[in-house]
């Protein structure tokens, strides 16, 4: 996915991400140094789990919203952190050894990607490492007593305390992970923390539950099945991984396709080159500023990309383009025609409604997304691709002067903040 000028900072990492990566780096060094000093306890098990983590990293995937996940790697990390025994032999590895195995596995699994020119998202990797380490540090000290309890009394021991502790700690870890992810995201795309938490939960909960269950499963199965557990456990999670990869793939293709096809209006000479793209980027940035959640942002983006599609039904391009300066009746007709096209998909009803009402004045109380598109469209008509500060200010002034009949003042103010940031970024 491409870097988005208005929403993410161009390249580079921000302070939160840097902090996270540094913490993960230091932890890695400590883990590896400690393990090297005291020696690897139960090397066979460590290598088995390390290999599984590496395989999981190799099969990492990108979920909608540019979120990198590696479910198999994470589940294997959880399994290794939660391990009580392998085929009846107690597992005595320390938390720092868990960190070392995770780090080595992750690096090994990331190398092939690096070799073909796909550098890992360091922040995502750091988050995975930290989450696993957190669990290891909380659980490893308890593993001795829990394991004794479980293997107690002529081999039909009591596994319930161990299971309960595992479930609680894994849940705590998942919550911590969501909070970290939301903090990073809020910082990165400039959205409110509360909104980011809800977005992360919506995106992460199903996969998180699957990974957590698999991690616990792996720890328990290692008792019953010895090392056979490792390949056997991979089966349920492999199915999950395949399903999510397909889902993420179609989501990405969908967005790319709408983005690409929104350009037909430009190729046909109906609008200025880059108009749809700029309007959609500005709209999404305004939507974020106003605290919209991701599903609404996606609808907004689709609607903004396709807001001019109705012009394709016109006989010829309107002379001078269908800008803010054109005839309002004409603009309404274009909006209606566009909504008609989108309704034909049979699925994007919300998007069609936003497009249909994009020309309405405030008196008709259009949805917030339509108001955003109306304002962003007008701004782009006035400013175009220019990043000139005075021109931007003049355009904003003109939208403000409207006095709250055509343009929502709240939207215009949010836009002013977004534009201000944009101008600053491009100036720097």
């Amino acid at each position: 996915m491409r870097e988005r000028r208005l929403t993410a900072r161009p390249g580079g990492l921000d302070s939160g991400q840097l902090l996270l990566i540094c913490a993960a780096g230091m932890l890695t060094v400590a883990g590896i140094a400690h393990t090297a000093a005291v020696g690897l306890s139960d090397a066979r098990v460590a290598i088995g789990f390390g290999a599984l983590i590496a395989a999981g990293e190799l099969a990492r995937l990108t979920m909608p919203g540019n979120r990198e996940v590696a479910p198999i790697s994470t589940a294997a990390s959880l399994g290794y952190a939660l391990l009580l025994d392998v085929g009846g032999r107690p597992a005595n590895h320390s938390a720092l050894q868990v960190v070392a195995v995770m780090a080595v596995g992750m690096i090994a699994g990331g190398l092939p990607h690096l070799a073909v020119g796909r550098p890992p998202r360091l922040d995502a990797m750091a988050r995975r490492l930290l989450a696993g380490s957190l669990l290891a540090f909380a659980y490893r000290p308890l593993s001795g007593p829990l394991g004794e309890l479980a293997r107690d009394t002529d081999r039909h021991g009591n596994w319930w305390p161990a299971l309960g502790v595992m479930a609680v700690l894994v849940t705590v870890m998942l919550v911590a992970d969501v909070v970290i992810a939301a903090m990073l995201r809020a910082d990165q795309v400039r959205t409110a923390f509360g909104v980011a938490v809800r977005d992360e939960i919506r995106m992460g909960a199903p996969l998180g539950a699957a990974v957590a269950a698999s991690g616990i499963l792996l720890a328990l199965a290692s008792h019953s099945m010895d090392m056979t557990a490792l390949p056997a456990f991979a089966a349920p999670l492999l199915v999950t991984q395949v399903a999510f990869r397909k889902y993420a793939g179609i989501r990405a293709t969908y967005l790319q396709t709408v983005r690409a096809l929104s350009r037909v209006t430009e190729v046909g000479g109906y609008v200025e080159p880059g108009h749809s793209r700029r309007v959609s980027q500005l709209s999404v940035a305004i939507g974020r500023e106003l605290g919209m959640a991701e599903p609404q942002l996606l609808e907004l983006e689709y609607a903004a990309l396709m807001h001019d599609i109705g012009q394709l039904s016109l006989r010829d391009p309107i002379p001078g383009g269908a800008t803010v300066l054109a005839d309002p009746a004409q603009a309404r007709r274009i909006a209606e025609l566009g909504a008609e096209v989108i309704r034909k998909t049979g699925v994007l009803h919300g998007v069609a409604e936003i497009v249909r009402r994009q020309c309405e004045t405030l008196g008709e109380s259009p949805p917030i997304a339509s108001r955003i598109i109306k304002a962003a469209n007008a701004y782009d008509d006035l400013v175009g691709g220019s990043t000139d500060r005075d021109r931007a200010a003049a355009a904003l002034e003109r939208l403000r002067l409207d006095g709250g009949s055509a343009y929502d003042p709240g939207v215009v103010e949010a836009m002013a903040r977004v534009v201000d940031r944009l101008v600053l970024v491009t100036r720097l």
Partner: protein
């Protein structure tokens, strides 16, 4: 029941009878089931039902895949043949709505027999029906694999027979590829049964939750995937049609080219991933046409070289638009080269023969065929026979003969939904028409040579 032919009815009765006999005999035999077995069986049967009611984890056409058999296999290991048969019998009370009693009985009896056979295979191959110990691994894998193979084979055979007898499915409706996919997913699901059985000694029924949670999440994701896929297909079709509204007569062209292209691709045996790609390539092949000025398309008579060049540019324009989409590279090549000719006189690059990408050769045939069999402003639609004759005539010069051949075969097999006759517009000024179709091989675009 009544609508079934008599052999199917006989088969049905025999099957149910055998299942009843096997279970009754097993229950009455000297080593019956103990209380512990019954509690395990109850959980496994519930699990079986739960999986049975959400059967579409993997969808192969005509065969709904179910993970339920992992519960039956777990029962094979934990309780033995009779236990597995009882778990399979639970299919009778499946909560799937609208399932007639006959089918319920058939499913129950069928799964019971599968379970019993699998249990027998497990014990014959040296497995012991009891709680597995850590020391049983990995030796247990051999009898377990035997149980899986027998379960799948019996299940497959019993189902195939009833389908054949009830003549619900014809042989060519279940493709080889689908069968292989189906069987391999069975083997994958078998692992879950082993996991459940192996964990039974530690956390009993919770093991089922731990194994199945990822699967249900996977199902959830797959459901969303299918929904998104459908939405995507509808969206791409609607957007392409929006592009086509420029010309009153070419409506629906993109969807029909897409359909014809995938018919050819299927005929020459393309894999799923490439089939998908060519479907989209066919759909999008003409999006660049919007860049051709309307006045060129509407001009009567010969075009100047410059005007013709504008038409020749459209594949490149199309490519430029769709390049940002994550398709297979072949799809891009197909869009870019769909006007190349077999003899090398096409555009934009004048490639010839096998230099032309396969996708482009396919789309070229589909494109010309639909153009000929649709109404145009300057002529009525030609018949399929005429269009096929025309394709054959131009095979080797304009078209790849192999693709023409494949298309003719596919047409014979599947038929073709012709474009609907376009009503002649009442008021000519109200609609957009063009007097040229760059896709139509019967009326090539005339170009004035300026030299």
């Amino acid at each position: 029941m009544r609508e079934l032919p008599w052999p199917a009815r006989v088969y049905f009765v025999a099957l149910v009878g055998t299942a009843g006999l096997v279970i009754t005999r097993g229950l009455l035999s000297h080593h019956g089931l103990v209380a512990e077995d019954w509690s395990a069986l109850l959980v496994l049967a519930l699990l079986f039902l739960l999986c049975e009611s959400v059967p579409t984890l993997l969808n192969v056409p005509h065969v709904a895949m179910s993970v339920s058999f992992s519960a039956a296999l777990a029962a094979v290991v934990l309780v033995g043949p009779v236990g597995a048969a009882l778990v399979g019998l639970a299919a009778v009370v499946s909560v799937r709505p609208g399932l007639p009693m006959v089918k319920r009985l058939f499913n129950g009896a069928q799964y019971a027999l599968c379970g019993y056979a699998a249990g027998w295979a497990y014990e014959s191959a040296g497995g012991r029906a009891t709680l597995p110990e850590p020391s049983d691994f990995p030796a247990i894998l051999v009898p377990y694999a035997a149980a899986t193979v027998v379960f799948v084979a019996v299940n497959f055979a019993l189902t195939a027979v009833i389908l054949r007898l009830a003549s619900a499915v014809h042989r060519d409706q279940v493709s080889f590829r689908a069968t292989v996919q189906f069987l391999s997913s069975y083997v994958g699901f078998a692992t879950f049964g082993l996991l459940i059985a192996a964990l039974w000694s530690t956390v009993q029924s919770i093991s089922a939750v731990l194994v199945l949670l990822p699967l249900f999440v996977a199902r959830w994701a797959l459901g969303h995937y299918h929904a998104e896929q459908r939405a995507y297909d509808a969206t791409i079709a609607a957007l392409c049609q929006a592009v086509e509204t420029k010309d009153y007569y070419t409506r629906g062209h993109c969807t029909r080219v897409s359909a014809a292209s995938s018919m050819i691709a299927e005929e020459i045996g393309m894999g799923t991933e490439r089939l998908r790609a060519i479907r989209y390539a066919g759909m999008l092949h003409d999006v660049g046409k919007l860049g051709v000025p309307t006045k060129v398309l509407q001009k009567d008579g010969r075009l100047t070289e410059e005007e013709y060049a504008a038409i020749q540019l459209h594949p490149m324009r199309g490519l430029e638009i769709v390049r940002g989409i994550d398709f297979l590279d072949e799809a891009f090549a197909g869009i870019m080269h769909h006007h190349e000719r077999h003899d090398g006189k096409g555009y934009p690059m004048g490639l010839a023969g096998s230099e032309i990408p396969e996708f482009a050769r396919i789309i070229a045939v589909a494109d010309a065929f639909d153009s000929m069999t649709s109404d145009r402003s300057y002529r009525k639609a030609k018949s399929i026979e005429f269009a096929v004759a025309e394709l054959r005539k131009n095979a080797g010069t304009q078209f790849d003969p192999d693709m023409v051949c494949a298309f003719v075969k596919a047409l014979d097999r599947h038929g073709w939904d012709m474009a609907q006759p376009v009503p002649v517009p009442l008021d000519d000024a109200a609609v957009e028409t063009t007097v040229k179709d760059h896709d139509d091989p019967t009326t090539p675009i005339q170009v004035v040579s300026e030299r």
